[in-house]
Symmetry: C2
Subunit: 434 residues, 2 copies
Amino acid sequence: MKVRVGVVGCGVVGTGTVELLLRNRELIRKRTGVDFELVKVADIDWEREREFHVPEELRTTNYKEVLTESDLVVELVGGRDFAKRLILEAIDMGKHVVTANKHLLAVEGEEILMRAREKGVRVGFEASVGGGIPVVRSLREGLVGNRIRAIYGILNGTTNYILTRMFEEGLSFEKALKEAKEKGYAEADPSLDVDGWDAAHKITILASFAFGRYFPFSEVYVEGIRGVESLDVDLGKELGYTLKLLAIAKMVDSEVEIRVHPTFIHSEEALAKVSGVYNAIMIEGDFVGKTMFYGQGAGSRPTASAVVSDIVGVGVSIACGHAPEITPVNWEEGTVKVRKNFYSRYYLRFSVPDRPGVLASISRVLADFNISIAAVLQKEMVCEIAGVKGPIVPLVILTHKAYEEDVQKALKEIENLPVVVGKPVLIRVEEEAE
Amino acid sequence: MKVRVGVVGCGVVGTGTVELLLRNRELIRKRTGVDFELVKVADIDWEREREFHVPEELRTTNYKEVLTESDLVVELVGGRDFAKRLILEAIDMGKHVVTANKHLLAVEGEEILMRAREKGVRVGFEASVGGGIPVVRSLREGLVGNRIRAIYGILNGTTNYILTRMFEEGLSFEKALKEAKEKGYAEADPSLDVDGWDAAHKITILASFAFGRYFPFSEVYVEGIRGVESLDVDLGKELGYTLKLLAIAKMVDSEVEIRVHPTFIHSEEALAKVSGVYNAIMIEGDFVGKTMFYGQGAGSRPTASAVVSDIVGVGVSIACGHAPEITPVNWEEGTVKVRKNFYSRYYLRFSVPDRPGVLASISRVLADFNISIAAVLQKEMVCEIAGVKGPIVPLVILTHKAYEEDVQKALKEIENLPVVVGKPVLIRVEEEAE
């Protein structure tokens, strides 16, 4: 039994995929009984340098050749418009598809997966989340018996590297970002990573399979790490917390909170210890409890490992005559609501003059909004605030669980207190991610 | 489409499985399109207390009823003889089987899996390793494109609990074991856990799928934690290491080392931080790099989660008309050799009198066997050794990588030196498990 595989897009991940399919072809054939033959690789530029030499006879600049000659098409061009056209064209031709395109899946996953279902072909996307970590498969198959309660993910290596450097070395965001660029961990335009979009795409995909509906990407709350100050990383550390860009999808009162934002978690917890460019995903189910998956979330070879696991999974199902795809996405038929009024703990930092009555007036406002204080930290350190005279100190308040809307309203009121200088800082604290 | 499921053995895991199948039946049907109906549960004792009430109409004391009425038989009786008879009988009747029986699989896996292949049925055993952690599926499917280099596992919760208590609180082995028994983490007869057998069964199963042959269980090196002294846990801690009962399967020079023994790993590494009854498995592949899976390695509900993932996997393949099982075990057809002469770093502790020339004579013997010293720690602490007069101090030598046979020979020679009192302590140090 042979499956003809074609790859469109021979960039970093494409090159890794080609290398894996060629190097480990015999191993995979022995393991599965199916021979995966790489028949064609399309790219518009065959001049640029690659880590692995793609044999001349496999190369083409015309993606249509890949579509024609393969049973299974691997889309690794990235981006939205061309990738979408390509995938739909392949599906319409009755080809199975494997893709690593999280952006496309998060935003247009419903259209693509519905079309695939109509045409009776499969779409694999293990590589779209968590690089080489087999998290999509684990969620859809390994934990298939569980009602999922929550997913907590460190899904973006670039931001985790930056936050790790800020935490460990006290670097500013700008310095850590510069370092990440120098090391090749951040793009020249780092917005997709740094502003949280990449992590948000990934958590949207995971949430869909966990909770059984397509969630519109526009309903996902996204806040990146560009505004994070090293002062807050340090103060949090002192309170026993580590700052992570956490992607969260969890059930609260039969609704789902889907959100990506800088989050404090206890420094002793497993997720807090995931440092550098590594990814980790903690999944909580009603029977399995908490289980965590950890590994390299990006890079040529790890991502190729995930792409190939999909190629093999789909290929083996071709060999058996089209297995029904486990876990259709929309098994709750859109009934699960996205919840915007988060219920969380909060770290709030105010810049205030060091004089009596300040804490009293701030805590009075919090009490008015039913926000209960868990801890207070006022440091004998003087901040310099542009345009403000006199000594200003940071006052940190950790709240018990409270509703986001109440906290936002309280902050607006506190911001207008004469004793408070500038905008308060709000960072959410997650205690369940343990 | 409906699949009739029967369970034999309604103990801790059986009860959890029954609960899951009944509680989440509708959820699983929505997700997979297949209805898994629990039709019968066999146990010899319906009087004992259970965490979940098994409906009277499902109960039987005659396992033959389960065989007759089900499409898929779940074996959860444990032990060897009856479980084996039951599984073979089910296979011969053309029933698919799901089991959590690691002991049986490690020792008689070849016979069972060959028979299943002959009869065209599937055998699922995700629950045999790592409780709720979907590690078997991840290894066989998620990492199918990878040449596996190594597996490092903390596969036994009981021993990890004991070692965690020894490490964190300085308890002796006996005290920590007593505590584990009181908490229900250790059996009255703890030998299967404490002497390493349970972990050895599990690593044998993982090694088979990683390296493509059935490894005879008798060829696996097994050393438990019964002889571990808290002095060594403490001295290791001081040197930056944490002691774990590590199950290791790794390729060295085209041969496989499969071994379970107390092992020092760097305290900063992810595996070192896995504490209490948790399990974790680190898998290294040529493309994916290092990836780690973490969760509850035992218990009623987590193990039930794994059992049900197999029920669903097998059931969906029934629905599609018997998918070929991915990853046959013996794709290397027994060609991979088990290597006994390990290549490792070593922690060696000698009890010696505190006088000149001792280190010289010990290190001369090590040099004779080409064993290079990486670090030495001699403490100003006096040990009391029964029957020995005068002050005796512990001398620790950390070696660079050396061959096990050389180290064993050197130890024999050192043991006979007049300056060395009693038996030297040998603990292997693993630096790749990072």
